[in-house]
Symmetry: C2
Subunit: 368 residues, 2 copies
């Protein structure tokens, strides 16, 4: 568990080679980010010749890495073959070595999700009390704020205990990044009634209610798919399969709707004229739904903070991921996750740790 | 298994009391439906005094039922207490009794889903080779056609064999109602690669590939959430939990988007003026996304055809459910489901019937 003094500058390590576009996107994003955050410092990781433009920038250090994990590289290649990849070296900056503090407090990469999670997990290890790291992102909701959703695909078969862990980690994330200290938590289900859902979901509901009653989190109850966009709760917890389907279904529908709007406004000279007049309105509408604004998913449950940008992000979107990572580090997300897990382990040891039965009672005390 | 001569009129039994609005919605819908379908006949089920308006309509018979299953009635009430409910009597019309053919070929109700499925299952029983009935609906896609999705909440913990059964029943539905004889089938997953997903999903992928190779269905492979709206496949198969979340998430996003559009167009006198000019465009856009046009979910796997309307349907929406039910009956959906299941049982008995191992080999031969 590393910690740091919040009066100190926050240092981010950036995998500058990752994603579909590499330095042509990451460098302009880093430059804009630096200009907006005078307290931030960047470690730019990648091939020095590709990052030469940034050599003279203030508050920047170039960290050489000779290899690149491509968007198609299997996890094995990222883990075992490309040991000097920009992704791996960027994550490595989060590790304290030989008593020296870590070089960076948070890492950002647009590299492929599977590889990023695998390398991060291998290098950083999971936090005590966490069985599986999870991926959390935000979606816009009708209240004008965001709904944080996790897990988004890291875990396909979850136990009730995993879902409780997700709720604790997600609560810490919302508190750190959105500034809401006691975010409300919804359990994604197919009905609001407690008798709904699979056995796992019903058991997760019990664990969450108990944790809520113990003051460990703010449990609202079951929510349904539409509640994500209603903004019924700050946080929505689900297993990775369901979360991934919900996210991609939403992306698909949003794409279809914007295509349809374009088609309808482009259909005739008259509708084109209407589009011209409606342009400011349509622009504001587009801005509110612009998924680039919500870029930057958190990998939670590791002994280090890693944020994942969309692979296809442009410079604006990548900068948002840097912003979220910066806020998370500045607001001590790692300590917050740790504190919540420890508090819950101490209050209800058997409930948080799904593997306690296998590992014996020392698990809880190790974590504490 | 009942069958009928397709040159004969199709008779629908309609639960006129179900849904949020009862006869004030169902009767106008029935009237419009009758006018559009000269070959159709209706059995209007409910309290005779509430249906008096329809007493003189041609091709209509009023069937008395003294009770109504409300939208909040628990399944137990619908099953055990309200034995003369319009829902139950409407479904009863699908049963052949004492050698006489069934009074109706398909039943439509806007009553509550849980009660409808339970009563239908109790009265009709499942088809041979089907472990669990499923609910299928359509969503619009970018190609301008529909994607049929099942299951939507009837089944929360599915085996690979259940998913194969859903694929077979869904294929029959698309063939009957959309007129595409060999609809393409996608398995909803979190990636296109065959190694993605839970063990159940991977096993379901194998069963579907085998069934595809044997010519029993047209298996495309894995699809992701966004493929529902891309229209990558005619049919998307998933377990009821995932399908329910995908559907409700989509509804939530569509609601948020239309709210945002309204807000943006209502923001200032200038944007209101733009809205006025853009009105025909926005109307066409709204029409394309109008969920009322897609109303009418099929309950599949029962020994009788039941269609479920949204409880909140208006007369236009309820008429669409009648239309879908009519098309299904006219195009022999029940025989089609039966034929596909039998063909698959004969080709690969162990694969379709998830319980074959428990029940012994007689299951397949019983079904055949």
């Amino acid at each position: 568990m590393h910690s740091y003094d919040s009066s100190q500058p926050v240092r981010l390590s950036v995998d500058c080679m990752g994603g579909d576009h590499g330095p042509s996107v990451t460098l302009p994003a880093c430059r804009a980010f630096l200009a907006a955050h005078p307290q931030a410092e960047l470690l730019l990781v990648g091939r020095p010749e590709a990052l030469a433009d940034a050599a003279a920038w203030p508050r920047c250090t170039i960290v050489a890495a000779s290899e690149v994990v491509t968007m198609d590289d299997p996890v094995e290649v990222a883990l075992r073959r490309k040991k000097d990849s920009s992704m791996r070296v960027a994550i490595q900056q989060l590790k304290a070595t030989d008593g020296a503090p870590a070089a960076a407090q948070v890492c950002v990469s647009a590299g492929n999700t599977g590889a990023l999670m695998a390398v991060a997990r291998y290098l950083l290890k999971t936090l005590d009390g966490i069985d599986r790291p999870a991926i959390a992102t935000v979606m816009p909701n009708q209240t004008g704020r965001y709904t944080t959703v996790l897990d988004l695909g890291a875990n396909v078969d979850c136990t009730a205990e995993h879902l409780l862990q997700f709720a604790l980690m997600g609560s810490a994330l919302v508190a750190a990044v959105e500034g809401r200290e006691e975010p409300s938590v919804g359990l994604l289900n197919i009905g609001e009634e407690v008798i709904k859902g699979s056995e796992t979901i019903k058991r997760a509901g019990e664990l969450l209610r108990d944790a809520g009653a113990a003051g460990l989190l703010n449990f609202h109850g079951n929510v349904e798919g539409n509640d994500i966009f209603k903004g019924t709760t700050d946080l929505v917890v689900c297993d990775g399969f369901v979360g991934n389907v919900a996210l991609k279904t939403s992306e698909g529908l949003a794409t279809m709707i914007s295509t349809m709007l374009r088609e309808e406004f482009g259909r005739s000279p008259l509708s084109k004229a209407a589009a011209l007049l409606a342009l400011p309105v349509l622009k504001r509408f587009k801005h509110r739904l612009d998924h680039r604004r919500f870029n930057g998913a958190a990998l939670l449950g590791l002994r280090g903070l890693v944020f994942k940008s969309h692979g296809s992000a442009d410079a604006f979107a990548f900068e948002q991921a840097l912003n979220r990572a910066y806020d998370a580090a500045r607001n001590r997300l790692l300590d917050r996750v740790h504190d919540r897990i420890i508090a819950t382990l101490q209050a209800t040891p058997a409930q948080v740790d799904g593997d306690a039965g296998d590992k014996g009672p020392q698990t809880a005390s190790q974590a504490a």
